[in-house]
Symmetry: C2
Subunit: 517 residues, 2 copies
């Protein structure tokens, strides 16, 4: 058996049976081996950032990693931004970077580059396979490393001769590192804080935003009077009617600081201490008030959900917490504003939908408009690098073929990885993409003055304008084989959404909205 075949079968045996791929010549034996291992589903992407973002979306929903197949250092570079997002999301991914044959590297052929230095920043685990005899073991180690809590990126370099050489054998799956228990003393200390009567807030991120964690946290708040707030950009937030309701921390630093100001204690649960996304002249980076104390319940390699449950038990927090009531906004009519889009989505969101949210400024009304919709998952971009929204939707749809995926996408962000539409069309995935077309990098218009750079002259403002020439997302979508429609009124949007939600399969809606004032 050659290395490629052993690698793929070992991945499958370890539960990795989807590979988002953008292969090149050095990956030909890997590609050929797909026909020998029918359990591995190869999904072709036309750009590497689509593949890595899709792997992120897949694993957030499937709970197990996908593989990504990339072509040498430059291919890894193209995929790096969405690996950055996946790292921040705590997503497990097995990244396989095809490389020149081991003996070919010293000749410095055109595509030779330092893969490790590119990979290092996003990878918790990195290894270059040396021989076909090693590669299956390396793959098993990579999967286990990726599954180490909370979820990590494992990068395996696959030289072409390791792929094509015989002498490989399968490797059995390795047990991933188990989550660590949070010490009793930590739980006791935080229970004491919560019993003190001083104002406290649970700041929840990562795994704490899944139903078990949320329910435990909500029990704690019901028992103690503490508040709970979610990270601004969660990897996966389970929400909607019948689940505990939670607000996300606002994006803008002064709003976030104001939201946290009442609390004497901020208790971190699978979240780093909240800091401003960017620095602004004369404003503090830290969002927690100066006199407040930050505590850490759990995170990183620890069992976050168990820690929340143990804390709830310690507090005798047995009372059922309040849950979000079923409640939908009225269907909008008239002019198409971002609020109207939010109301339409809130009114029509299908049961068990998966929402991927890269709507940026256009998405501000979404959380409240959808708070009482049927339960759903909300995926955002924790690393802040745009171009992840449509790829996330692609991956989530592969992971959950029985669920409707709704992608909320800003026009500027959509243009980073438009090729994702092609793969969604190719795989006939059940994804409805709404592109908010306000013809601007609207966030930058806002940030220009917020950073103290003034109102901007005409040449600066040109750097934020997407109106010259105008983008046509309907034509863009159709150019890649995906049906699409345009909405310029709320009524048109409702009609488009009804159609898209009634029928499975890919569809894109260009929502023409005004830019923020």
């Amino acid at each position: 058996m050659n290395g490629a075949r052993a690698l793929i079968q070992t991945l499958v045996d370890a539960g990795v049976n989807v590979c988002f791929a953008n292969p090149g010549t050095s990956e030909m034996h890997f590609v050929a081996a797909l026909d020998d291992c029918p359990e591995m589903r190869g999904v072709l992407a036309l750009f590497e950032g689509v593949a890595t973002g899709a792997a992120d979306g897949y694993a957030r929903m499937a709970g197990r990693p996908a593989a990504v197949l990339l072509h040498l250092g430059p291919g890894l570079g193209n995929g790096l931004a969405n690996l950055h997002n996946a790292r921040r999301a705590g997503t497990p991914i097995v990244t396989i970077v095809g490389d020149h044959a081991t003996y070919h590297k010293r000749f410095d052929a055109p595509l030779e580059s330092d893969i490790e230095s590119i990979a290092r920043g996003v990878s918790s685990w990195f290894r270059a396979s040396r021989t076909s005899r090693d590669v299956a073991g390396d793959a098993a180690d990579a999967v286990a490393a990726a599954l180490g809590p909370p979820g990590r990126i494992a990068t395996l370099v696959l030289p072409a001769d390791v792929s094509w050489s015989e002498g490989a054998a399968l490797a059995a799956p390795r047990p991933p590192p188990a989550a660590l228990a949070v010490p009793d003393a930590v739980i006791a200390d935080i229970a004491a804080v919560l019993r003190s009567g001083e104002p406290a807030v649970l700041f929840l991120g990562g795994r704490a935003l899944r139903e078990p964690g949320l329910v435990a946290a909500a029990r704690i708040t019901a028992a103690t009077g503490a508040a709970m707030i979610a990270q601004t950009f969660p990897a996966r937030l389970e929400r909607g009617a019948g689940l505990p309701a939670i607000d996300r921390l606002p994006y803008f630093a002064e709003h976030a600081a104001a939201r946290l100001a009442p609390y004497r204690h901020v208790i971190l649960v699978d979240a780093a201490e909240p800091v401003s996304f960017f620095a602004y002249p004369g404003k503090p980076s830290q969002l927690v008030a100066a006199g407040s104390t930050v505590h850490r319940l759990a995170g990183g390699p620890e069992d976050v959900t168990a820690a929340l449950a143990a804390l709830a038990d310690r507090l005798d927090a047995t009372r059922s917490p309040p849950l979000a009531p079923a409640r939908r906004p009225q269907l909008p009519t008239g002019a198409l504003t971002v609020e109207a889009v939010a109301h339409a989505v809130g009114a029509l969101l299908p049961e068990r939908a998966i929402v991927t949210d890269e709507a940026n400024t256009s998405g501000q009304g979404m959380p409240s408009a959808t708070a009482g919709a049927p339960r759903h998952d909300w995926l955002t971009v924790p690393g802040g690098s745009i171009g992840d929204g449509v790829p996330l939707a692609l991956g989530a749809a592969i992971a959950c073929p029985d669920r409707k995926v709704v992608c909320l996408e800003a026009d500027g962000s959509a243009m980073y990885t438009p090729q994702a539409l092609w793969t969604i069309a190719r795989e006939q995935l059940d994804v409805t993409t709404i592109v908010f077309h306000n013809a601007a990098y609207a966030i930058l218009r806002i940030e220009l003055s917020r950073t103290g750079a003034g109102a901007g002259g005409p040449r600066a403002r040109e750097m934020f304008s997407l109106s010259r020439p105008s983008l046509d997302f309907v034509a863009l979508s159709r150019s890649m084989g995906m049906s699409a429609g345009r909405a310029t009124t709320a009524d048109e949007l409702v009609a488009e959404l009804r159609r898209a939600f009634a029928e499975p399969g890919p569809h894109l809606i260009e929502a023409v909205v005004p830019p923020p004032a």
Copy 2:
């Protein structure tokens, strides 16, 4: 004066007056300062790979660097593949990576990443500015470093607070490192080889492929009977009627080895020893025959053109060399094949055109069909990372607004950086893009069997097929504001090309061609 303004004015004073930009919040003061420095032209790209590829194309034609403005580590990642190509091309680029404020970095905000580790592989020079007082000097150093022969990538990290803080002052341009003279002894040794009567070939790359180098090399070959061959993927080859004709080394290793086999001596002139692009099982990586000797005339930091001239003088090579005669193919008619496209381009290529060539398998007939066309420049992708062709055309058109740019682009490659079309339309650049639509990663179909991976089963073949769904490059182009037409016959292509070449401005032609057999 704040750091941003000092930085931009210093770049301008050093001759860098174009900035291809994809900015974010941390770059807002840089963007605002564009209105204070009208000599700096900001060109907006919707994706960072467009910006870096455009900077590559710009500098190859302008002979001086452009700046690129990128947003933190992920933005650099998105631009990395085309920086890799630029590095291999020996292109000077000043890459400015906006970063968090210096004091904000320790908070590990979502977009925090290790910029240096991402940049290291492509950058000959790297520095992070520490204060607004340093930044202008850093910029002057960066330009000088970029201009060090043959041309290098200088990466300057620009923290937001360095940008916005006052206290900056301009810095005068620094002299770049001068090209080194090749020692007389080297020239004498190589002259002796060429006088020996043993079969020899000059293997020319980089700067040797510009007119002065080519003319000197052609004089040498005329005087000595030596041959000359160009690199497979030159950064910029000056060619056409009235210039010395030169063939490029074939891409496939066995063809390349056969082409070099007759020569007892291979003399490298601004080129590395030729090696196969990829490794293939059982085939050697080195293309020079085992018994042959490789000599090195000049390259890297040396004055390549002067070395060729000195060698020609040493050989008393005063005879005018043969030059390519003016000769165009007949206009094709009938079925649209890749040969027909080549003939149409050869028949109609405008005087002083700039051709950017990422046509891959579809471009094989182009060199001979255009050998006698009016003189023109031919730009390829020396680093082998696809997604560079349209960005190169964009940059070349900014550099040379009085020349027609013709972009020969494969369908698969076009889909890596399709956003380049938008900037070409926005800037109303005189670029005619021909997309060869054969609905396949045709090179991979060929490489699958060449690497010994067999014919490929149905699942492997799906990884090379771009036909499901079909891409529509006319719709794609129009979605980004660029006029476009489709040619399915040679006659339609000729009509489209005549129109595009007659009128200045952007136009795309989708040439529907059969895939290679």
